[in-house]
């Protein structure tokens, strides 16, 4: 049930510093992740990192950037700061992001609305595989889903979690599992961590 044969899902590769860029902005949403390739590269890199208040021991993570990385309390706070930052940017920037899939494609959307395109953005998955599920019936986002079937927080429908990922919505699609036979809801299995 996990592999539903959907080929359109994004594939990720480790972040690689692109020496063709003149300035580099590295967004790290998972504080355990260390983009090692950036430490060795002699590039003008600015790093943003999410450091939750309750995090322990992350202060020692070496990350590139003059004056150290800029710290954020949550991925949301980082996302909110990105659009104003990119509005000031000039051609020559490369943007790199590592974090959960729902974070990555929100970054991608913000970057594309700022005019960036393929060749200027790199995304790498890190951390939990828990899914953000978009209910196709009531359009509610259900965050952090780890099961094959989930009850929608908006309309209460039992949603089957498809492998169909929307880059635009940065979410997996959830469709009513008992649409044909109301009430026939198979048991949910833990599928994503």
């Amino acid at each position: 049930m996990i592999d539903q044969g959907i080929k359109s899902r994004p594939q990720y590769e480790p972040l690689r510093p692109d020496p063709a860029g003149k300035r580099h902005l590295l967004l790290v949403a998972e504080p355990t992740e260390r983009p090692d390739a950036f430490l060795a590269a002699e590039l003008d890199v600015e790093t943003w990192i999410v450091v939750p208040r309750d995090a322990e021991g992350v202060a020692g993570i070496p990350l590139p950037g003059q004056g150290g990385p800029r710290r954020f309390r949550s991925p949301r706070q980082m996302l909110d700061c990105l659009a104003p930052r990119l509005a000031q940017e000039r051609m020559g920037l490369r943007l790199y992001a590592t974090g959960r899939e729902d974070f990555l494609w929100e970054i991608d959307g913000i970057a594309r609305r700022a005019g960036m395109g393929k060749g200027e953005i790199q995304l790498a998955h890190a951390g939990s595989h828990a899914r953000r599920i978009f209910c196709v019936h009531c359009r509610t986002y259900n965050e952090g889903v780890t099961t094959t079937i989930v009850r929608c927080g908006g309309c209460g429908a039992h949603l089957f979690v498809r492998d169909h990922f929307s880059r635009r919505l940065s979410a997996f699609m959830g469709v009513k599992v008992d649409a044909e036979t109301p009430g026939d809801v198979p048991p949910a299995e833990q599928a994503y961590r």
Binding site: A20, E89, M91, L93, R94, R112, A114, G115, G119, E120
Partner: protein, 315 residues
């Protein structure tokens, strides 16, 4: 979808813009209107001279929605392979010509946030159809036209002098693009049309400033330069045709009455590619990969020639 078949037309007017530039206006020869064109589109103009036929690609300079007439601007070049001389010296108002349906290999990037257009000399022509579209869309753009000092007034006349976004640079030396391309906002795209050297310099400057390749667009109307004559043998039909010094392989095929495939006639689109069975091609196109060039199994007939005396095509 690309419309096939030709558009019958008549020369409706010829204006002299400068000693070497003329504008040709074509109207439909019949009741039908011309199809609308995309900004940056070109047409192939078939010219029937007394001894040979040319099919040359020219950018439309009319606004894309204009259906009542098309216009092109042509420079009389020295040395010419004959097409521009025929247009300038022989073609008269009222003459019949055949036009292809307009095709665009040089579209405006719809997702760009800002557009920088850089023309060199007569390479300004595709941008003349960009301008009304960019203005109507309220797009952010700059146009920089580079030309010889002696021609600056001519191009100012074509482009107008009232729009502060339009700049004509009359220059004696090698133009420098860094001041134009440095410090541009994210999402800027640059478009160039003009001599190879100018387009290469723009592309290299952009790359050096960290621009990604997909933000750099070129219109390649590489003039076919001619070269050593050679013989082409068509394996399927058994025909043997001489490709003369001032003729392209494609023109030689057309001269023999063969409807060979083509679209841009500038080595950019790849429509004219034909398989090579024997002989060594001299590649001059922008389409084939390094590996395809090295293998020599395929040739872009609109520009490329032969290193060997004889070339056999599977056609």
């Amino acid at each position: 979808m690309i419309i096939t078949g030709s558009l019958p037309a008549r020369v409706a007017g010829i204006d002299s813009i400068s000693p070497t530039l003329k504008r040709f206006r074509f109207e439909p020869d019949g009741p039908a209107e011309f199809p609308t064109a995309a900004p940056g589109a070109h047409v192939l103009v078939t010219l029937r001279g007394p001894e040979r036929v040319w099919k040359n690609a020219y950018s439309l300079v009319t606004p894309p929605e204009e259906r009542g007439h098309y216009a092109i601007i042509v420079r009389r070049v020295e040395p010419s392979r004959g097409g521009s001389h025929f247009l300038h010296d022989v073609l008269r108002s009222g003459d019949r010509v055949e036009l292809s349906a307009p095709a665009s290999l040089f579209p405006i990037a719809s997702l760009a946030r800002k557009h920088i257009l850089i023309g060199g000399g007569i390479g300004i022509t595709p941008f003349l159809s960009y301008l009304p579209v960019l203005k109507a869309r309220g797009a952010v753009f700059e146009l920089h036209q580079f030309c010889a000092i002696s021609e600056a007034e001519t191009f100012r006349g074509l482009l107008g002098t009232d729009d502060p976004r339009v700049h004509v640079h009359g220059t004696g030396g090698r133009p420098v693009f860094e001041p134009i391309l440095a410090d541009q906002p994210l999402g800027t795209h640059v478009y160039t049309c003009g001599p190879e050297g100018l387009m290469r310099a723009v592309a290299e400057t952009a790359k050096g400033l960290g621009w990604p390749a997909n933000a750099v667009h070129q219109e390649s109307f590489a003039g076919a330069a001619g070269g050593r004559p050679f013989i082409v043998h068509l394996a399927r039909s058994g025909q043997t045709i001489l490709v003369e010094e001032s003729q392209t392989l494609l023109e030689a095929l057309e001269g023999a009455g063969i409807e060979a495939p083509c679209l841009c006639r500038g080595g950019a689109c790849g429509v004219c590619l034909l398989p090579v069975l024997d002989g060594e091609p001299e590649h001059r196109d922008h389409v084939l990969s390094e590996q395809e060039r090295a293998e020599g199994k395929i040739i872009a007939t609109c520009l490329s020639r032969a290193k060997s005396d004889r070339l056999t095509l599977d056609y």
